[in-house]
Point group: C2
Chain length 457, copies 2
Amino acid sequence: MAIMPVTDSMFLLAESREHPMHVGGLQLFELPDGAGPDYVSEFHRQLLSLVDVSPLFRRRPRGPVGSVGQFAWTGDDHLDLEYHVRLSGLPRPGRVRELLELTSRLHGYLLDRHRPMWEFTVMDGLQGNRFATYTKAHHALLDGVSALRLLQSSLSEDPSDMAVRPPWSPRVRTDVFGSAPRDRDHDSAFDPVRAVTELAKEVRGFGAATVKLVNEAFREQSATLSFQAPRSMFNVPITGARRFAAQGWPLDRIKAVLKATGTTMNDVMLAMCSGALRKYMLDLGTLPEKPLVAAIPMSLRTDRSVGGNAIGLILCDLATDRAEPLDRLTTIHESMLRGKAVYHGMSRLQITALSALPLIPLAVGTIPGMIRITPPAFNVLISNVPGPRKPLYWNGARMQGVYPLSIPYEGQALNITVTSYAGSLEFGLTGCRRTVPHLQRLLGLLDESLEELEKAV
Amino acid sequence: MAIMPVTDSMFLLAESREHPMHVGGLQLFELPDGAGPDYVSEFHRQLLSLVDVSPLFRRRPRGPVGSVGQFAWTGDDHLDLEYHVRLSGLPRPGRVRELLELTSRLHGYLLDRHRPMWEFTVMDGLQGNRFATYTKAHHALLDGVSALRLLQSSLSEDPSDMAVRPPWSPRVRTDVFGSAPRDRDHDSAFDPVRAVTELAKEVRGFGAATVKLVNEAFREQSATLSFQAPRSMFNVPITGARRFAAQGWPLDRIKAVLKATGTTMNDVMLAMCSGALRKYMLDLGTLPEKPLVAAIPMSLRTDRSVGGNAIGLILCDLATDRAEPLDRLTTIHESMLRGKAVYHGMSRLQITALSALPLIPLAVGTIPGMIRITPPAFNVLISNVPGPRKPLYWNGARMQGVYPLSIPYEGQALNITVTSYAGSLEFGLTGCRRTVPHLQRLLGLLDESLEELEKAV
């Protein structure tokens, strides 16, 4: 038994029925040649036959322990693999619609704290010679980026490799995490709750000079926007049910736009989101007059004296008030440049502090009534996580796509997480089912948005 | 908005991640002649097209409200029918095994308190020209018996009746509840939490004579057993995950045994349970030396001066220490007679009080550590709820079977609820997944147990 670091236990403390604190991933696989009708249930049976489980996937929370109510990690000696590794079916006709419906539902259920907090669901009955898997892990155990890398490291680039082991197998390389798996330098360290917890821990060590610098930088950052994020339909209290939508677009289409406009991959991705959100909110009659503000975590090089990378949170003007797609893209591009410039020359500690400030309302969001009275620092969290470039295989089954599922927060009802995989940009949209109605519509609107950009350049 | 009666809100207060407080039902239907491959998804689509929902199924809890933390019932004006009425698929090969696996999982998830607390899942992909439905309702909204009666009243005895409406339709007769739907006289009023809450409410009105009588009756009731219920594997703290198993046996087989032995339907049902539990625990090496004690809620005629029926809790010696099936049946029969005799001549109030006493540990079971130190008043709760005698149809689809899912409590990891339907005795076993391993084995053992009784008479 080991006392859990505060950065882990925060996710257990912050969790409630309305705010599950787990991340997920949806993976689509092609059935390999010659796969029979029982291929998927056989795949599941094989997973259950591999009874070795690595210590990471055996640990479960215990607590609160001790006089100060800390949580601890403890090992589960009676791991019930059948509980964690599940087989589900889709109802007919087994389209992507039915797949997303089931995935949405699974992502809304709380994980059982009496067991290691992860689940892996194999999904049978998908049309078009495919099957899917949904992975789910509590954020206290594994964050989304680590989960993605772990899956990636378990798969093979070789279609004829039949020795692929599931992510929880002790045979899977875990060096994907680098030397320190939960190190703050790592992309994966970014998360609202974690960022604020880090800040709270480190703020004690701040000298007066640091506090002054962060305060000034915060004013400067706010000044880059020249306006306050408007109140919007996404910045309200949320409920427990989730809706998930996912789709991929060819990277080549996005690259053509960025080359023609001198912008970045991230800019074009944000412009797609901007166009889609604008139309979505226009249709619902909820588009604010002022443009929406997105918060985008980005890996930044820091002052050389500290070394390494740090994650900075950029507040970006999404220009949803502009009707022209290229206007929006240009505004986004400039806003991102200004946002990054604020962090120039800062130490990692300063970056952490500055990034955490706009996230404090999310971290304290579980206090009832808070969200209604505090204006949002931003309207939507959009993350872009680099993924594998080459196609990956699970015992010959080619992974067609991989889509991240994230955590909506009180006051942040929609999360957009994007990753790249084998020539495709994969969008995963996770929303509160009640607050973000007809989330699937955003997929069609993202597509329209990209088409408009293509026509405009 | 109406303040919720304490008998309803108790179920919300007593609920935690580990103790979901909802009841459920699994219904099996035959596909009608000529049903195409999309029959089940079409059935689901039709349900969604009936947008009228009765007030009972629109109300959701609001609270705690007011200074004393009471809950209230409020109406949901934005009922999201697609959220409540779901379509699920079974993985191949779609046997009863896969059906029970999915049902177990669904029964372990908490209901969303932001919405009316019920769900109806249509299940596609079942072998043998069948489909299934799983109904789930929070105990604060509807108890198991009421839910069963409501379903029953929504179905038709006429296979050609194509005007069947789902249980939540305002067109469904609700007179099945009788004049007072949540009246204590009703069978449905029986539940550990409710019984104890009733007791707490009424104890203030007890005169000294009543207290004396109940105390004496409790001593007498305990004396009928001449021993204390042993500690057993079922009387421990539980986890949140559930396992469900269900099967029906022809009533004729059970009637043949009761006629040959001069016992009752209930006695033979209990003897089946006794034989199965004995063998299950012997296999696991956990059979206590002393016999298990079952608690059985029964409808009792009360002292004529009070009128009506009341639910009494009978503590029955299950004779699991005896190897001979007929010995067990005889012991059970005699124990039930003695248990009923205790209640003879009592008023309804006295019956309520006496029945509530052994249930207090369950009602206070959410206090950590309580269960470990308190010896159990009984080992397993077994309920027998009368069901419909004639076959029922949903727009021509014959209901083959209906199986109740109940609530395991802290310290009571296994619940057996039995109902009758169209010539069959339908067993529903709901257990904590961790505490009651391989629950499905009990089905085979129940079958063996009935066969042994048949051979012995």
